[in-house]
């Protein structure tokens, strides 16, 4: 099947999103979608194009048993009652976080050049426009971080790197990120693939998180094995 023609690609991507692409053609298209950014992007385009059709569906609250069953599937502790009742309102306080002047802890070292270590994992943080902000090379003892020059720099805050454990535990700090140039963070956590759900960058008061938890999460990305 020829995927090079724009018209053909459009026809396949729209049929995939609509659901009319079936059987072997659908499986082949999914495989190519996983391999080729251009195909993925065309699918995303059609998802966004057709999504307004859902605006005509009358919202229907799902039955009360659905939420506890989702939590149970994820191995989360099930609440005493079935009604969702968050104890911590992310949206309400994420925007109002005040910056406080803190003492810079100086957790990282300047790197004179490329570290002579075996890189086992890599990660890339990008902004909303897809522009690369930081590149990370992870070895068994350290994380080499390079800022690209597109990182927004301010004396009012610092950026902090976190690992999100795969077991659902609280995020753990990996240190402060450079705002320009390159740095090496000594590795203090086990970042093997089965231990990590994702890594993230948060915006913190100067010196890093004062609570031990991230204040405002800005970017999240997976760790990729090399």
């Amino acid at each position: 099947m020829n995927y090079s023609s724009e018209e053909r690609l459009d026809a396949l991507a729209s049929a995939y999103v609509l659901g009319t692409l079936e059987g072997r053609a659908r499986r082949r298209f999914i495989r190519l979608m996983q391999q080729k950014t251009r195909i993925r992007e065309r699918v995303w385009f059609w998802e966004q194009m057709l999504d307004p059709l859902n605006d005509r569906l009358e919202p229907q609250p799902p039955p009360a048993h659905v939420w506890p069953q989702i939590r149970a599937r994820l191995g989360m502790a099930v609440a005493a009652n079935d009604e969702p009742a968050p104890s911590r309102r992310w949206v309400s306080w994420a925007g109002g976080f005040a910056t406080a002047a803190m003492v810079l802890a100086g957790l990282y070292l300047t790197v004179p050049g490329p570290a002579p270590v075996m890189v086992e994992q890599v990660a890339v943080f990008t902004d909303a426009d897809g522009q690369t902000l930081w590149l990370l090379d992870v070895s068994d003892q350290q994380i080499a971080v390079r800022a690209t020059g597109l990182v927004s720099v301010s004396a009012e805050y610092d950026y902090e790197l976190w690992m999100v454990p795969a077991d659902g535990g609280a995020p753990r700090s990996l240190g402060l990120m450079p705002e320009d140039g390159s740095l090496v963070l000594p590795l203090t956590e086990d970042l093997s693939a089965d231990m990590v759900k994702a890594i993230a960058v948060s915006r913190e008061a100067p010196g890093g998180s004062v609570t031990g938890a991230p204040a405002e999460v800005l970017y999240v990305t997976p760790l990729l094995s090399t």
Partner: protein, 178 residues
């Protein structure tokens, strides 16, 4: 809840924050359940699809990015694809004809979301389609029917079904991009 709120929540979910996940569920599950019910026409199957979709959203939140569109669009796609997979599986195992009896999509008279400008554009562009094209696009999108199922239901020849849907989608695209 605004798109910006959803963006904040999905980043927190990617960090493994269960409270944010719950808040996102509260804000989005009614829309996602409506998608599942519209396609599957069965509370039991819609429950199952919704649960699987949110499990996937929890695990894949870190893969969301702005290129996917609004958070709710990304989440809607996840539940929609899950429903389509379930429908194809049902079609293989059962005669789906019984569930096709009441074919007309159950749509609200007006868009039900707060920000309806996208839908107004969609409404305008749908109105530009030939009625046959519009009907077949509706059957595929809202009922998740395959080309063959549409052929069986409407009596329209298979080639015509394919052509009208393809032509309808291309016309929608041209209109919405204007």
């Amino acid at each position: 809840m605004t798109e910006q709120d959803h963006q904040t929540l999905i980043r927190a979910v990617a960090m493994g924050e269960q409270d944010a996940f719950q808040q996102l569920y509260e804000s989005t599950s009614s829309r996602l359940y409506a998608i599942a019910m519209q396609l599957l026409r069965s509370p039991e199957r819609a429950d199952e699809a919704l649960q699987e979709a949110y499990v996937k959203i929890w695990h894949n939140a870190g893969e969301y990015h702005a290129g996917r569109g609004a958070v709710i669009t990304w989440m809607g796609s996840i539940v929609r694809y899950r429903c389509i997979d379930m429908l194809r599986s049902i079609s293989r195992k059962e005669d789906r004809q019984d569930s096709l009896d009441d074919m007309a999509p159950e749509l609200a008279e007006a868009p039900v979301t707060e920000e309806s400008s996208d839908y107004q554009a969609m409404e305008h562009c749908l109105a530009q389609l030939e009625s046959g094209e519009r009907q077949l696009v509706h059957l595929a999108y809202y009922r998740g029917l395959t080309h063959s199922e549409i052929q069986n239901h409407t009596g329209t020849p298979l080639g015509t079904v394919k052509t009208w849907i393809r032509r309808g989608l291309q016309a929608l695209k041209r209109c919405l991009e204007q």
